[in-house]
Each structure stands twice: as C-alpha cells, then as structure tokens.
Symmetry: C2
Subunit: 368 residues, 2 copies
C-alpha cells in the first residue's frame, strides 16, 4: 500500500504528514536527518517505547540518525513540570545540542510534553511527531500546540512549536484499547462537523467498518482529518485571527467536564463528544444553528460507540463550573465560542453567554 501525504502549508516552513504502513520503519527516509549522524532523543512512554521503540530506532538509524530512547511513565500525570524538568536535564546529559532533534512517539500526552521540551530546550530544537493513538493522529500531531498542565488548568504552560514532519502508521492502532480508539473517533466527528459535510455522511455510512480498524480505510480517514486540521491551522498558525478557534468546537464544555470528572478519568475525546452535543443543544436553543444538528451529531457518535452523555456520578460540579469560567478562550471576559450552524461548517460567536454554558453543564450533571 502506498503512503498518503498531507502538506501543512505554514507561512515560514511547510511540513509533511506521511500516513501509511511501515511509516516507523521508514522514518529515517521519510524524515531524514539534516546531516549524517544528527543526534535525536525519542521520547516515549514506557508502553509505546516497548511496543514501537525498537522499530523507530532501527528506522532512524537506517536513515543516518543517531537516536536514543528516553521513556516517561504512561498517563496524563507525565504532562507536568515534574516530568518536564528531569527530561530537559536528560537531553543535556545525552549531549543534545541546538542541532539535535526530539521525536515524540506515542499519544497526546507524550506529544505535548516532548513538544514543549523541544520548543524550549536551548530555545527550541527540531521536533518530529510519531503519533500512535487515533486522537493524536487526527488531532494533536497537527497544529504545533505543545505544553504541560498545572494544577490550575490544563495546558497552562506551553508554546507553539511546529513539527518538521509527522509520521503515522495506522497499524499502530491495532493494539490501542477500544475505549481510546473510540475516543479518537470523537475528534474525527468534530472535524467532519466543523469542515466537511461529505466526511460526516461517509462516516455515517461506514461506521461499522471503521470500528473494525481496517488500516486502509483508517489511513484515508486520518489523511482527510489531517487535511482539515492543516488547512485551518495554516490560516492561523498561532491562534491569532480566531480562524483556528473553530477547532475548539465542543472543547469549552468538554474541558469543564474533563476537569469535573477527573476522579473517573474521562478521556479527552469522550469529554469533547459530550461537549459537542451539549454545545450544539445550546446553539440550537438560541437559534444559532439548524435544529437537527444536536440529534445528527449524537446519532453518528453513538454509531461509532462514542458515549455522548455523562453516565457517571463522580463529577465535581464546582470544579467543572470553575474550569468553565477559567477557560483560556475567554479573553478579557468575553467568550468566543465555536458553533456549527449546519453540519460541515463552523463559525465563532460571542452571542452565547457563559451562564448558558454553565447551566447546560449543570443540567448534564443533574441527569448523570
């Protein structure tokens, strides 16, 4: 099977996303070193390091890189300053200099952490992502947002650091736990909802086959998703014009749910699915979208086995409310909220009062 590629047309330096079988084994050819023997650290969590580390190391060596594997504990707790601190020191101990590079091998946590470390090590060195979860492949690997969490908020400390290349092998998804795979589908639905009505319909038609994880079907879906995200990011790389903010569809309530439900460890994609349906209800109620959007969203998500309600009880309502009010998208007190007037198209609005969102979250939680 041939590789698919998507070019992200950034103003300063475009880069390519390579998607297809054996992308890791061919890493050194797809993302060649800038000179023979260029040093690199592969940052992985212990799980992804175990599963894919050897393949990526071999692929990079074959292309002339001098790579070393560095692992961090798996899980969200690694996306913190407590892990970033020693990691910076580790890169120095490995002898990495301004001409070296960092590869992120794993899901969103590893990508965000390794990307932030690369963005700030010696004021920024090369960064290549090798995402191994569906969520990271369709979402966090494109866009250049990197960072770590603080107790006060997620992604509170971070940077924009665009990768030099992205390498995706859909075969890595075979070993992904069902719940994580399905959570990634939530972001796929989000991209379709905000930018591609045709993809939305294709997903509705092929939902069952998607769940079998057919690598070729997935490669096509991942490529379309990367193209959607890339085109939005290319128009607004550092989230300045507001154009890029449509990617945050579902994330306002989603983040609040994520914070409030920290006790039961909701996944990001699961929270975004809940957020999209809840935000679409608010938008429909206020006359900002077609009336059928919430139901069509919910139907597709459920066909893909993505839960759309908060079916757990251990949610801290106060925490969710505070998270909503501390949202980064609120600039100077006003919230610019992405809405989907009809499936396949999104826009930003300031017409939704924060209180409407807070009360929607409270309703959600009352039902739970």
């Amino acid at each position: 099977v041939a590789l698919r590629s998507v070019v992200v047309e950034l103003p300063i330096r475009p880069y390519t996303i390579h998607i297809g079988p054996r992308a890791l084994a061919r890493a050194g050819t797809l993302a060649p070193p800038s000179r023979d023997g260029q040093a690199a650290a592969i940052v992985a969590d212990e799980t992804t390091g175990q599963l894919f580390g050897a393949e990526l190391l071999a692929g990079l060596r074959e292309g002339g890189w001098r790579p070393q594997l560095v692992t961090v504990p798996p899980g969200e707790a690694s996306k913190t300053l407590g892990v970033a601190g020693p990691l910076w020191g580790r890169l120095a101990d490995l002898g990495l200099d301004r001409g070296s590079a960092v590869f992120a091998l794993g899901g969103g946590v590893v990508g965000d952490l390794a990307g932030f470390v690369a963005a700030t090590y010696m004021r920024g060195i090369d960064f290549i992502t090798v995402p191994t979860t569906l969520l990271a492949q369709v979402d966090s690997s494109v866009g250049g947002k990197v960072g770590v969490d603080l107790p006060q908020a997620k992604n509170l400390v971070g940077a924009f650091h665009q990768p030099r290349a992205v390498l995706i092998d859909p075969g890595t998804l075979a070993s992904l736990p069902e719940r994580q795979f399905v959570a990634g589908l939530a972001e796929v639905v989000k991209h379709a909802a905000i930018a591609d009505g045709g993809l939305f319909e294709d997903l509705a038609r092929s939902a069952e086959r998607v769940l079998t994880r057919d690598p070729d079907l997935l490669a096509g879906i991942i490529a379309r998703n990367c193209a959607i995200k890339a085109s939005v990011v290319a128009r607004d790389p550092e989230e300045r014009t507001g154009l890029r903010a449509v990617l945050n569809y579902g994330h306002t309530i989603g983040h609040a749910v994520e914070r409030g439900a920290a006790a039961w460890g909701v996944l990001h994609g699961e929270a975004v699915a809940v957020g999209m349906v809840a935000e679409s209800r608010v938008a429909a109620r206020l006359g900002l979208s077609r009336a059928d959007v919430p139901e069509r969203l919910r139907t597709l998500l459920e066909a893909l086995h993505v839960p759309t309600d908060v079916a757990r009880s251990e949610i801290d309502v106060d925490l969710a409310r505070r998270a909503l009010k501390a949202d980064k998208k609120i600039v100077g007190g006003t919230l610019a909220l992405p809405v989907v007037p009809e499936l396949g198209r999104a826009e930003l609005t300031t017409a939704v009062p924060t209180d409407e969102l807070v009360s929607e979250v409270e309703d959600l939680l009352r039902q739970a």
Copy 2:
C-alpha cells in the same frame, strides 16, 4: 529632559525602547494597555520591587492598566524552574488570561525569568521589560532571549519572546552597587568593539564622566547601545543566520569562567570582560585580528574600572573546561566563534579550535 527612543525593526512586530527620566512614572502612557483595565503582573525581585514597584504600579494605573506586583527572591538562584513553576501558578491565581501582560522590573535575572514565564504562560502573553541595571538596559532587555538555568548549563531552557516595549530610566542606576554598574560597562564596551569604533573612542575619552553616572550621558550611551543591539537582532531575530551570533563576543570563554568561578559569584559582565580580552588574544595569536585589539580592549575596560583578569583563586578548572565544551554555540561539534578583526567590526569564524580556547582558559587560571 526629553525621552530618547530606539525602534527595534522586527519583521513581525516592531517595538520601541523609551529611554529617559521618569520612564517608570510614565509607563502607562509609553506602553499603553491594549484596552482599558488590561490585567498585568509586574514581576520584580524583592529589592527592585521595594525600590521601584510603587512608581511603576502608579504609572501603569494612570495609563489604564490593572497591575499587580509579584516578587521573587533576588539573585541568580531565582532563574530556575523551582521559581518559574510557582510563578506560572501565581499568574493563574491572579486571574491573568491570554489577553493579560507581564512586566519585568529589574535586572537580567528577573527579565529572563519573567520573560520565559510570559513566553509560555497560555502559550505566550504580552511582555514589557523595565530594566533597572545597566547590563539589562544595554543588553538583555533587547533581543527577546528569555529562559532559566539548569544544573547542566545556563539558559538551557528558554524561548525567543520579543517584548512589546522597553522602558528605561537611567536614574534607576543611581542606586546600583558599583560592582554591578561597572560589570554593565563591559557589555557597553563589547557593543562598541563589535559594531561602533566611534563609540569605542568616545568611551575612552569620557571614561571618568561615565563613572559619575551622569544620567544624560548614560541615556545617550544606553540609546547607542540599544541601537547597536537592535540592528543586529533585527537582521536575525532568532539567531538562525549567524549574524546575531557576533553579540556573543567574549561569551564563549566568559561563560566558561562564569561556570568555573561560580564559587566566588563572578558577575556576567565581569566574565565577559575577561572573555573578550582572552578571546581577542587567541584571535591575535592566530592572525585573525589586528595585533593591537587585545591591548586597546584591556585599556578601555580598565579605564572604566572593569577587571580584566581572573584575580581570584576559587576557580574550578574542570568545571570551566566542561562548560566550554558544552557551549550552546557549538552546533554539531563545530564552534562558530565571533572575532573582532579591528575595533568596531566583528565576524564569525570556525578557524579557532576549541582546544585553543581551552588552553587559553587554563593559562588564565594558572595566572590567577
């Protein structure tokens, strides 16, 4: 006395350095908020906060800012992740959002620390510097380099984050300890040596008056220095073309001395003075500069009371040697060293073997 101003012509967003009396009291007018009531944190060390905090707070309030003062302990030890970590959290607790700003009030440590925190808080918020030491006024306040130290090396973690504006009152220098004032003069001499032969001669003529800290004379010198640094930085904002690297004149041996002499707390400017004279000797010996450069440099530095030899004994030679070999300017094993072929002009060369520098450092230390 009127204000002087120097515009730094950066490709994306130029900014202005305002130099003159009462620059702090007029801060809110010179650097107005982007909207009325914009929130800001003034980061200062306890000493500068005490000396100048009230004046800056009042100046900012008068211009429509909503500023709050946050202090950190004085000294180099604050330029670390251990201080940056709580500072990020503090900004969140103060309610700063993506539309807020950080002012750095103090010397290089506060500027580097606060700048790094601003560069990474919510992926980057506005940053304004109010340097109160001569070194910071003529050097670190221009250029956008921010960061913190790690045990492995200085500035190992950092970013490029250009300020929105720089506010300099030469009157703040009246309270500066003699040793710090004089160390700042070392960078003034460096700028003259690499870019302005006329300034070099002016300094030689007016050395005695410079030492009286006449505010108007200093305002003129600071403005010329900012203009030199600004013109270099504007041609290479993120140190990519090598053009900017000439600013590191004296810094290769300087940093090594700084690390090796950590026990007696050498100041950055003192180390750079030692480094300039030592590097100029190496360059003259290798035929890369006029023979009179080392002596003329030494004469001017001494006229300005800047020590040019390592007249202390507690230097760790191994530490200095290791620091030299770990230098960030070494990319892929090759050192691009700035040299001054004649006073007023600098260029980069790869013709100086690292070993020559190491043996020069060893000679220096043997004499000490």
